[in-house]
Amino acid sequence: MNSYSEKPDNKGAVISAKTSIPDSIKDLLKKAMENDVFDAVLIPMRVPAGDSFVYVLIQDKSLIKDASPFSPIMSVQGAKAVSSITRLGKGNLKIAAIMRPCEIRATVELTKLDQTNLENITLISMDCPGVMPISDFTKEPEKAMKLYDNAIKNLDDKIMRPVCQICDKSSMVSGDLHIGTLGAKKDTFFIISNSQKGKDILDKLGITPKEKIDSWQTKVKTISEEKQKKRKKAHKDLKAQIGGLDNLLDTFSQCINCHNCMRVCPICYCRLCYFDSDNVKHPSEDYLEIAKNKGSIRFSPDTTLFQMGRMMHMSLSCVSCGSCEDVCPMSIPVAQIFSMVADETQGLFDYIAGRDTDEPLPLRTYKEDELHEMEDAHD
């Protein structure tokens, strides 16, 4: 259905922004709705109180002007919104979803797991500068807005979440259309199609992708390589810090078992998490027996088991979006840990979560000739 595996266009369209880039993007979306290219738009919007951003599905085009395509925080992972809309079927509305690359990658993963249906959805990504930790924003929203605007202008990621600072996939990976702001001349941006659906939409909008995009490609490459280096180093340092059973137990001993990380994770799509089920609740004599054997037992028990279990279930599809860490009340670097593990597990299968809907999930694919290095792992 959607295939992003074909080489994207080497040409794009250059759009000049009259007032600002976000306004220009919104104008384009409005125009697309007027021309019946889209029936609705899924896009972040600031809440009336001003202290958060959420996804809204807009069908009244006059409301598009209030949207914020570049929201400073990610309080809801967009893939969850797309899944809410399409899990039970594609529906009959043509919807444009404006999301960050990691949100689109999570959407692609959920598509493989039959949790979204992209037939009527057009995924539009943008060059993502990263987002701030939710808690940093909600403290002083107005100040945070200014900080964020400045950070975008100066391409400075210091105020962004740690996992955004080491994100090497912050530009176009999958999706149908991409808004490229990197390497573009002042007050302009690129629109690049990344699938047949994307091409068709540009066609319907009367936009011809005829301009060269090498300046964008070069800039994206530079940033991605820079971040890749940072990412490798950060993961190496983290591994030294949490590696080994004792360090691991220490790291997760702060976990309060709230399961927030699982609830906001776009990949944790189970109806009932195994770790919320009765399977992990035991008769009192079991607890007493452990207490007897070990001297005592902590409550909540099994927090490390929960983290490890969740990791086993979802790390192959983890897109390092950082939602889990954003909501951890104990400030455990969950997303950094998971991104480190995900890079390794996905690397084993030469797999990148969210690269393409056509790329099969490693755990569902049986290859006789693979993972030989794991065969004698117990030795």
Binding site: R87, L88, L113, D114, Q115, Y269, C270, R271, L272, C273, Y274, S277, N279, D286, E289, N293, H313, L361, L363, R364
Partner: protein
């Protein structure tokens, strides 16, 4: 109802009693919750032992039976039958293996006893979570689909067809007979092949209970043992697909030859007069063995083991038919010089060695050779090779016959998908077990015969076809209902999130997806209870009856405590 667990420990003669301190086991488990009786007995599987157990169950009103004895492979069935005889559901039973897993693996009586206690306690823990399971019976169709009209398919059809059992024999070419229609004679008796074939084909023709479809292929195969739905497509254009139902399927799709072009040094299709064994059989059957120029060859080289290293297996029949070729050549061209080049000579069995020895004689050579390379030398062919001693030699001949490895026929992969059975080494259909189930497969009701299972000679092919018929005749009896597996998977509608992971990992094709409810559904009749879906389901929606999470957890927890 109160749970009353009866625990019975078998001494197994001296087997268990000498290595495990049974009294200590009894002491360790007697006071556990729900345990009503703990007894030891000298041999529970004996007739007296069985009687003893039935009496005990009735006397004490035992609701759950734990036996600590041998491997479940040995006597699980025996004890389940005892439960049934005593009016207890056979799934309210658990066997602790204290013989193979305790008594027989150590000389240390203390260690053996400790482990026996753990395993017995684990079985008691587990059985508290057992639920009674009811056997089901379903109608079955006694008819059989045989795919492949070679000797294997023909033999199986003839054995199976009867007034109350229709056989559908599907052949993709225009006539029955398969590979052996190309042979003039069979080895080692050197009798005309047509003798066997003609009689068998006449029998098929005369049999009203065999319906033959030539120029036809299976287009669709759905269902399960006792209830398969088949769609056949015939090459003749005007005829629509034919649909019918059967209870069992026999795969007898035979083999084809490895293409020697894949190994360039044999010069096949590069030089004239380099031919394959099958081409030679056909030439011989036509009555004249000639070179491209119409003359008779004065010298012939037969290369055995072509492609063996590449395929990784010995094709079993090539040596024998190559020796047969020597006979063909000698019969038709008495002065011809024949050299056989082999890497290993395979002449097993009660008559093959003799056949080989009797074939040897003047102008006939058998040379153990490697690094064979064929080049052109004028109108002739030069066979370069290295002999057993390592010295390089060269022989010039008029004709080279290549005896290539056998490969499963090309439609194997499609049929493997249709039937859900796997292709093992070399792409041949994989039997359920090399020794314990050589003609059954991982899909109940699908059987394999002949070269589709592996290279085979004619007698072995017929033996296997008859074995398949035997299996079907004894399990698919007209009018008799069949009992599907009871320990099957179940997918909870309320937990299933519809990700379809289970559909990908199910080896039996027994899970379907309900698009309305967006949940996976298990067909309990096809399910064999392998547990793949249970392991793969991320949300715990899939569970296996008799191997539920709690049953396994309680058992393991107790065993590792």
């Amino acid at each position: 109802m109160d749970r009353k667990i009866g625990v019975y420990i078998c001494e197994c003669g001296p087997n268990i009693s000498e290595k495990v301190d049974i009294d200590r086991v009894i002491q360790a488990v007697s006071s556990l919750n729900d345990v009503a009786v703990v007894e030891r007995y000298k041999l529970l599987c004996s007739e007296d032992g069985k009687k003893f157990l039935v009496e005990q169950i009735k006397k004490h009103g035992i609701t759950h039976l734990v036996v600590a004895a041998c491997s479940p492979r040995e006597h699980q069935q025996t004890f389940m039958e005892i439960c049934e005889n005593a009016g207890v559901n056979p799934y309210l039973f658990q066997l602790a293996n204290i013989r193979e897993q305790c008594a027989w693996i150590t000389d240390d009586k203390d260690k053996a006893t400790k482990k026996a206690i753990r395993l017995t306690k684990a079985a008691i823990s587990r059985i508290r979570y057992h639920a009674p399971l009811e056997k089901k019976q379903i109608e079955s169709n006694p008819d059989v689909l045989v795919i492949g009209g070679g000797i294997a398919g023909i033999e199986a059809s003839l054995q199976l067809a009867s007034p109350d059992r229709q056989v559908y024999l599907v052949e993709k070419t225009s006539s029955l007979g398969g590979m052996i229609t190309n042979f003039e004679k069979t080895y080692p008796d050197m009798r005309p092949c047509s003798e066997i074939l003609k009689q068998k084909m006449d029998d098929v023709d005369k049999n009203d209970n065999i319906k033959v479809f030539t120029d036809s292929e299976v287009a669709e195969l759905l269902g399960f043992f006792g209830n398969f739905q088949v769609k056949i497509k015939t090459k003749a254009e005007e005829i629509d697909a034919v649909n019918f139902d059967v209870g069992a399927v026999v795969l007898a799709t035979g083999s084809t030859l490895f293409d020697p072009q894949q190994i360039s040094q044999y010069g096949y299709k590069k030089f004239d007069n380099v031919i394959t064994s099958l081409e030679f059989e056909k030439m011989n059957l036509s009555g004249r063995i000639t070179l491209k120029n119409g003359k008779n060859p004065k010298s012939v080289g037969i290369i055995h083991c072509v492609g063996r290293d590449k395929k990784g297996y010995c094709s079993e029949v090539c040596c024998m038919y190559s020796i047969k070729f020597v006979r063909y050549l000698k019969d038709k061209l008495s002065d011809v010089k024949v050299s056989n080049f082999y890497s290993d000579l395979c002449v097993p069995g009660k008559s093959h060695q003799q056949f080989y020895e009797k074939t040897q004689g003047k102008n006939i050579n058998f040379i153990r050779a490697e690094s064979i390379e064929i080049t052109k030398k004028g109108d002739q062919l030069s066979i370069k090779y290295q002999d057993e001693k390592g010295s390089k030699n060269n022989q010039v001949v008029d004709m080279v016959i290549l005896s290539p490895a056998l490969e499963p026929s090309s439609d194997s992969s499609v049929l493997s998908e249709f039937t859900g059975i796997s292709q093992g080494d070399g792409g041949f259909f994989e039997e359920e077990h090399e020794k314990l189930g050589p003609v059954t497969t991982s899909t109940e009701g699908v059987y394999i015969a002949g070269c589709s299972q592996g290279p085979k000679n004619i007698p072995d092919t017929i033996i296997q076809a008859e074995a398949v018929a035997g299996k079907i005749l004894s399990s698919l009896i007209p009018g008799k209902k069949i009992e599907p597996e009871v320990k099957v998977s179940h997918i909870s509608e309320s937990f299933c999130i519809g990700c379809k992971t289970c559909l990908d990992v199910c080896s039996y094709g027994c899970i379907t997806f309900n698009e309305t409810k967006k949940v996976s559904v298990v067909n309990e009749v096809i399910c064999r209870g392998c547990g793949n879906c249970v392991a793969a389901c991320p949300s715990g929606a899939a569970s296996l009856k008799h191997f539920t999470f709690n049953q396994i957890y309680q058992e393991v927890k107790e065993a590792v405590k």
